[in-house]
């Protein structure tokens, strides 16, 4: 246990009774519960925590918040390791392990730092310049650039934790749990509105937690306690901590990342590590606070150069002394509070350096009264030191850059260049920030969505103004959402400290060889911006891309305004004329895992299961995916390969009897007085003359005349039909019908209802199928007279009602049996029992595929969205005598009527043995040089056990007249070409006798 040499003896909001052990770069340290990792490192005197992106310069802890550009570490180990986490936002936990990044072999001695020696060769845009002359140069540079690029290392093992999403709704969403946000939540909550407040930190209170004053100053502390207590008492107010609103989208959809378990070694059982909230709120209050700006001067990136507000946070919230001798460099009054707080805990404040000629504000006055030396009209020319600041050079502003100034020894330099309201969400909502000259900052512009800003986010920095603004915003938002009168509760009546205006100081002139950083994370210097401006990158959007300003993981939170101001200076224009960079989501980095949520592994997609699924599973089915369904592809017996099983199953159907689960076919109940008329319009063939108790094959076209789907549709009653669709198109056909009924023909009195889920369906096929059915079925005559081909009858099997359709996909005598789904398994097993003496075999999709190819029946591979009924050899079905049906008019297009269109044909290998492949292209002569004219394609192929040789279906230009020709099937992926003979697409039982066999 180390001693935490920089921990103050008292104060802070840490829990000193709970010491926590942690490791940084392998070395053990201790901190306290309530520490951030950054605070604990500072307490232990660790000043150097990382190396910069481009020049590998030593870097320390710069901020105490989400804007941190420097202190990025790799948190946790192995599968849970997470690169580029901000040490300032990591809550310390016992056993935490972190390591520094972008250094090799060690943080103290980093070979990459030699990059600094080549700095003159690495100017802004050097990456783009490597693409230019010499032309072959890039080939050489690429290896080195690729090796040097990037920050951090991701974990390689799968993430052991899970993530979740959730939806949330409220009347008023408040973003930010500081004084303004709490006030807004209070004012809105009192009206009875549903309020959700999200705060990215673990505790509420915002800047109040960092004000020494709030802790000793009774009114502010009391206000905070009373507000939190009242909020807790309001049942419709929900306070969500450790939750960052990172994205603001259209229609007031705000994305929030809740870090449920990031402050723990690992998530508790059943809890997600992070939850992605999608919040829909009629009204949003943005109380996102402000971020302090750095000042740009030579060496301003040295470790121990720190934002003045951050130094204050470490002192007051964490009771950590960030140094022993401090200099404060500020262009505004707020940093004097830091000087006072440093002095209060006994840290020597050598001087406050202020470029202004003076300040009549309360804080500077108190600093002077406390005996702190204030050097007005001065600036810090340079911070000196290597791995940490050891001294600063201070000179009068008038002489800066010309003469050497005074050297002041120090080990901490606190800087403040003013404050920038946090406008990210306002910008994302469509708002365009406006420049406020008095604050020298962008403030929210006109709202494009139902949002309003309050507190520091709106440019009101004094505590009383934050609270008053928050109360007002909360009351107004609630009223806009339909709650309350819009009148804000009274704000506290505290005296306001007077503050003098700041003096913009966008950069301090520096000697040529010294670097003044604008963007610490991406190593962009004031010189780089000057260079970009000289090279013509005068638009801020171009500047950003050319120099990479603001393009790190911090998205330029501390650098945007300084960069913009410097560009304006170079162009000699006002800042608003240069524009403003826009902010895109996310506000802070978000792990991809949270976007995936639970939708990984078995929940990536749901599995749809038929009523017989468990039976297939226990029968050892091999599965095939059909949309979201799992269907048996075959049922291999022990010692049998899948190929052998498929062959056995197909043979069994041809010679005996088989049973297949066809529950996945789409089934649509179409009923009403106009049902028949409706079907005549949606099918290319006629249904109105179909007798009750009969089924008919139907062909459905798209509006453009191309075949959409096919299936059998049966007439169950005068005004009721049952349509079936292919599995793949079940949903699309249903949508098509609903669209037609609701928008095209609303006058038709027809209801279409999907009943796919209601019915389990199975096909009993093969020459012995009738024997099996006769044994199983009751109450129905299954003789050819009682149940003819394409007949439909009701009956009972195993004591439950079934509907029997005599239809066939295999070409054998076959019956499709529909049964209410909860009884599907019962009927399935009853049929298997009844079929045992006939040697019944369950068969899967693969055998079914072979059987239909042998019969030349088209399926999804042929109905591929490019084929017409004529192409499929089904032209005779199209009833052009009907006045109208979907697709009729477009069928007359010349391209669809062209006799040379590819037509369905069969192919067999000339050698009678070589297997054909779906996807092969048909060419007339394989010896001609490329490009070889392709005259056809193979769509389905099988090794036919019935015929004893491979067969295939496909399309061939003018195919109907080319039966008997020898062509070539080319499959370049396998470097295969096979001589094939063109044959009739019906390979087996062309007369259809087996349907009755």
């Amino acid at each position: 246990m180390s001693a935490q040499p920089f921990r103050l003896p008292a104060g802070g909001r840490i829990d000193r009774s709970r010491p926590l052990a942690f490791r940084f770069d392998g070395k053990p340290y201790t901190g306290f519960a309530g520490d951030s990792l950054a605070a604990a490192l500072l307490a232990n005197g660790v000043r150097l925590v990382g190396r910069s992106f481009k020049y590998h310069r030593p870097r320390g802890i710069f901020s105490a918040g989400p804007e941190e550009p420097n202190a990025l570490v790799r948190l946790r180990r192995e599968a849970r390791a997470e690169p580029n986490t901000r040490a300032t936002m990591i809550e310390l936990f016992d056993g935490l392990e972190a390591e520094s990044q972008n250094r090799w072999p060690s943080l103290g001695f980093d070979l990459g730092a030699t990059a600094s020696l080549f700095a003159p060769l690495l100017p802004a845009g050097f990456y783009y310049k490597t693409f230019m002359a010499p032309r072959r140069g890039w080939m050489f540079y690429e290896r080195f650039i690729r090796a040097a690029a990037g920050m951090g290392r991701a974990a390689e093992a799968p993430d052991p934790d899970h993530y979740e999403k959730r939806h949330a709704h409220c009347d008023v969403l408040v973003v930010g749990g500081g004084p303004a946000g709490l006030a807004a939540a209070l004012a809105a909550g009192r009206t009875g509105a549903r309020v959700l407040l999200v705060e990215e930190r673990a505790e509420l209170g915002g800047a109040l937690r960092r004000e020494a004053a709030a802790i000793s100053d009774a009114p502010a502390a009391e206000w905070l306690a009373a507000t939190l207590a009242e909020l807790a008492s309001l049942s419709e107010v929900r306070l969500l901590r450790r939750a960052t609103a990172f994205g603001y989208y259209d229609h007031n959809l705000v994305a929030v990342l809740e870090r449920v378990a990031d402050h723990l070694p690992e998530p508790p059982p059943h809890r997600a590590r992070q939850v992605l909230w999608q919040v829909r709120a009629p009204q949003v209050v943005l109380a996102t606070g402000a971020i302090e700006r750095p000042l740009v001067f030579a060496g301003n990136d040295r470790p121990q150069v720190m934002l003045a507000s951050a130094a204050r946070a470490y002192l007051n919230e964490f009771a950590v002394a960030p140094g022993t001798r401090a200099v404060v460099f500020t262009n505004n009054d707020s940093a004097y509070a830091t000087a006072l707080d440093l002095r209060r805990v006994g840290i020597r404040v050598t001087a406050v350096v202020d470029p202004r000629e003076g300040s009549g504000g309360d804080l500077p006055r108190r600093a002077r009264e406390a005996g702190i030396e204030c050097r007005f009209g001065h600036a810090v020319l340079a911070a000196r030191g290597r791995s940490r600041v050891s001294a600063v050079e201070v000179a009068s502003l008038g002489t800066a850059g010309h003469e050497h100034g005074d050297n002041l020894d120090c080990d901490l330099l606190c800087v403040s260049g003013g404050w920038s309201p946090t406008l990210h969400l306002h910008c994302q909502s469509g708002g365009r920030p406006e420049w406020n000259e008095a604050l020298a900052a962008f403030v929210p512009g006109r709202s494009k969505q139902a949002e309003r800003s309050a507190g520091a986010a709106a440019g009101a920095f004094a505590l009383v103004d934050c609270i008053a603004g928050g109360l007002r915003a909360g009351a107004e938002a609630a009223q806009a959402a339909g709650f309350g009168t819009g009148v804000a509760p009274p704000a506290p009546d505290w005296p306001r400290e007077s503050a003098a205006p700041l003096r913009p100081l966008w950069s301090v002139p520096a000697r040529r060889w010294l670097k003044s950083f604008v963007d610490l994370q991406d190593d962009v210097t004031a010189g780089d911006i000057g260079l970009a401006a000289r090279e013509g990158f005068v638009s801020v959007e171009h500047l950003k891309r050319y120099t990479t300003l603001g393009m790190g993981t911090d998205q330029g939170k501390t650098s945007n305004v300084n960069g913009l101001a410097l560009l304006a200076e170079k162009r000699g224009e006002a800042i608003p004329a240069v524009g403003v960079t826009t902010f895109r989501p996310p506000y802070t980095p978000v792990a991809i895992g949270s976007f995936a949520g639970r939708e990984t592994g078995r929940h990536f997609e749901p599995i749809r299961r038929t009523a017989m699924h468990e039976w297939h599973e226990s029968a050892g089915a091999a599965w095939i995916e059909a949309g979201l369904w799992l269907r048996p592809s075959c049922y291999p017996r022990s010692g049998e390969s899948e190929r052998e099983a498929i062959r056995r199953e197909a043979v069994a159907v041809r010679q005996g009897v088989g049973l297949v689960d066809v529950s996945t076919l789409g089934k649509i109940d179409i009923a009403g007085p106009d049902a028949a008329a409706f079907l005549d319009r949606v099918y290319a063939n006629i249904f109105s003359n179909l007798p009750v108790g009969r089924a008919r094959y139907g062909l459905m076209l798209r509006e453009d005349g191309i075949v959409f789907d096919d299936g059998t549709t049966s007439r169950l009653a005068e005004q009721r039909f049952l349509m079936t669709t292919t599995t793949a198109n079940a949903v699309r056909v249903m949508q098509h019908l609903e669209f037609l009924l609701q928008t095209v023909w609303p006058e038709l009195r027809v209801a279409a209802t999907s009943v796919t889920e209601q019915w389990a369906a199975m096909a009993l096929a093969g020459p012995k199928s009738r024997d099996v059915l006769a044994r199983a079925a009751e109450g129905v005559d299954v003789s050819d007279a009682g149940l003819p081909h394409m007949g439909v009858r009701d009956g009972r099997i195993a004591g439950v009602p079934v509907r029997i359709f005599r239809i066939s996909f295999s070409g054998e005598r076959a019956y499709e049996i529909n049964v209410p789904a909860d009884w599907g398994l019962r009927v399935w097993t009853a049929l298997l029992d009844a079929g045992r003496e006939s040697g019944i075999v369950p068969y899967g999709m693969e055998a079914m595929g072979i059987l239909r190819i042998e019969k030349g029946h088209v399926a999804g591979a042929e109905l591929d969205g490019t084929t017409t009924a004529a192409d499929l050899g089904l032209g005779r079905l199209v009833a052009m005598k009907k006045p109208d049906f979907i697709g009729r008019h477009m069928l007359a297009r010349p391209a669809l009527a062209d006799p040379r269109r590819p037509r369905l044909v069969g192919f067999v290998p000339v050698d009678g043995a070589t297997r054909l492949r779906a996807g092969a292209q048909i060419v007339a002569d394989s010896r001609v040089p490329p490009p070889v004219p392709m005259i056809g394609r193979i769509t389905s192929a099988a090794d036919s056990p019935t015929l004893g040789h491979p067969i295939a279906l496909g399309f061939l230009e003018a195919g109907a007249s080319r039966h008997g020709e020898t062509l070539h099937a080319l499959f370049p992926l396998a470097d295969q070409w096979v001589p094939v003979r063109v044959v009739d697409p019906v390979f087996y039982d062309r007369a259809g006798e087996r349907l009755h066999g």
Partner: protein
């Protein structure tokens, strides 16, 4: 009547799991079985005769507004779309709900479709029921916007569902397509674990439809 085999047979095992809160499980989960579910679709916009027929056929008149359910005597009539209702009641031997509705609506411009086996109906109840559903359902199920007997089609994760607010506990009935039921059940079980979940046997689900 021959016993029906639920899509959740073997998946839904009664018992407690997960991390319950101090006051007991946050979610009570069970399947409502042996339900007759019949859809009535009105043909055309004048549906007064259809509403009357439904009332005559099942004893409960549909609610006057959209997205509302009406209940009485163990029967619920759920609005499921413009001119469409689902009539739900416990199956009773010798009394076929679909046939009764067919008869009552014989002369009305309506189509009656039996969907009794097409839906798996889950009841999700308990203090954390809303938090659980919020993980997969984009609807605002707060009592103010989704009061008792509100019903609406929505999503639960990947699965489409008709949600019916049954009481203010709160309890919700979820009507899921049968083929999705098992995947949805697994999703619910995993999502409910953090609140503590008690799976109850179908017979222990009291309360009317």
């Amino acid at each position: 009547m021959v016993e029906r085999r639920s899509a959740l047979e073997g998946a839904a095992r009664p018992g407690d799991f997960g991390t319950p809160a101090a006051g007991g499980p946050g979610v009570i989960l069970g399947e409502r079985r042996s339900l007759a579910i019949v859809q009535v679709a009105a043909l055309g916009e004048r549906d007064a005769a259809v509403r009357g027929g439904i009332a005559a056929g099942c004893g409960v008149a549909p609610a006057a507004e959209a997205s509302r359910a009406a209940r009485g005597g163990g029967t619920a009539v759920l609005w499921s779309g413009p001119g469409r209702w689902l009539v739900v009641a416990a199956e009773q031997p010798g009394s076929d709900l679909a046939a009764r509705l067919e008869a009552a609506l014989a002369t009305a411009p309506a189509v009656v479709t039996d969907l009794g086996h097409a839906r798996t109906v889950l009841r999700v109840s308990g203090p954390s029921a809303r938090d659980l559903l919020a993980k997969g359902c984009p609807l605002d199920l707060h009592l103010r916007t989704f009061p008792v007997d509100a019903c609406a089609h929505s999503l639960l994760g990947h699965a489409g569902t008709l949600i019916h607010a049954v009481d203010a506990v709160p309890s919700f009935d979820l009507y899921l397509a049968r083929s999705y039921a098992r995947s949805a059940w697994e999703w619910i079980e995993e999502s409910a674990a953090e609140y503590g979940c008690r799976v109850v046997a179908p017979a222990d689900l009291t309360g009317s439809g």
